[in-house]
Amino acid sequence: GIQVEQSPPDLILQEGANSTLRCNFSDSVNNLQWFHQNPWGQLINLFYIPSGTKQNGRLSATTVATERYSLLYISSSQTTDSGVYFCAVELADSWGKLQFGAGTQVVVTP
């Protein structure tokens, strides 16, 4: 099956710092999504990004499908950015089934 690898596994940031999270995948995909799981366990969809670049406030994401990777940028991090960031990919003809990476645990300190 497809492999979805996220790096780094853990990240500690001081408030105000910028960071980049990476997601590599081993096969062609239909789409890619980024999620944030906050410390209370809620999973929030950040981006639906099969290719190209999108921005949402201090967050932006870029997917280069031909090279099988995606990047999530966090700028001017805040303590509310803490949590686990998941990348998930959907294969063609998989009826929306998402294959998740193991996540990047982010801790933003004041």
């Binding site: 999504q33 999620f35 366990g41 809620q42 999973l43 929030i44 009826w95 929306g96 193991a102 996540g103």
Partner: protein
């Protein structure tokens, strides 16, 4: 207004019992899912329904049975609960092939 709502939020039960988790979405999505998140936070799909029809059934024990009475509801019934069933179960929905998922807030199941 909650877009995808799951009940209950917490469930503590003894081994051998039968329990159900309910899920409802008001987004007009045509596809609903059950995912299981284990103690290491790994998320894996269990089932998916599209317009009330089962379309994905991963290798899940027969003790787990999903039911979709209509396209806005997807319930999960678990028979003869085992210790290894302890996990967080997430319901989600999407519009097939077009948009991202919306997840419910999860049900933390603890089997003792």
């Amino acid at each position: 207004d909650t877009a995808v709502s799951q009940t209950p939020k917490y469930l503590v039960t003894q081994m051998g019992n039968d329990k159900s988790i309910k899920c409802e979405q008001n987004l007009g999505h045509d596809t609903m899912y059950w995912y299981k998140q284990d103690s290491k936070k790994f998320l894996k799909i269990m089932f998916s329904y599209n317009n009330k029809e089962l379309i994905i059934n991963e290798t899940v024990p027969n003790r787990f049975s999903p039911k979709s009475p209509d396209k806005a509801h997807l319930n999960l019934h678990i028979n003869s609960l085992e210790l290894g069933d302890s996990a967080v179960y997430f319901c989600a929905s999407s519009r097939q092939g077009r948009y991202g998922y919306t997840f419910g807030s999860g049900t933390r199941l603890t089997v003792v």
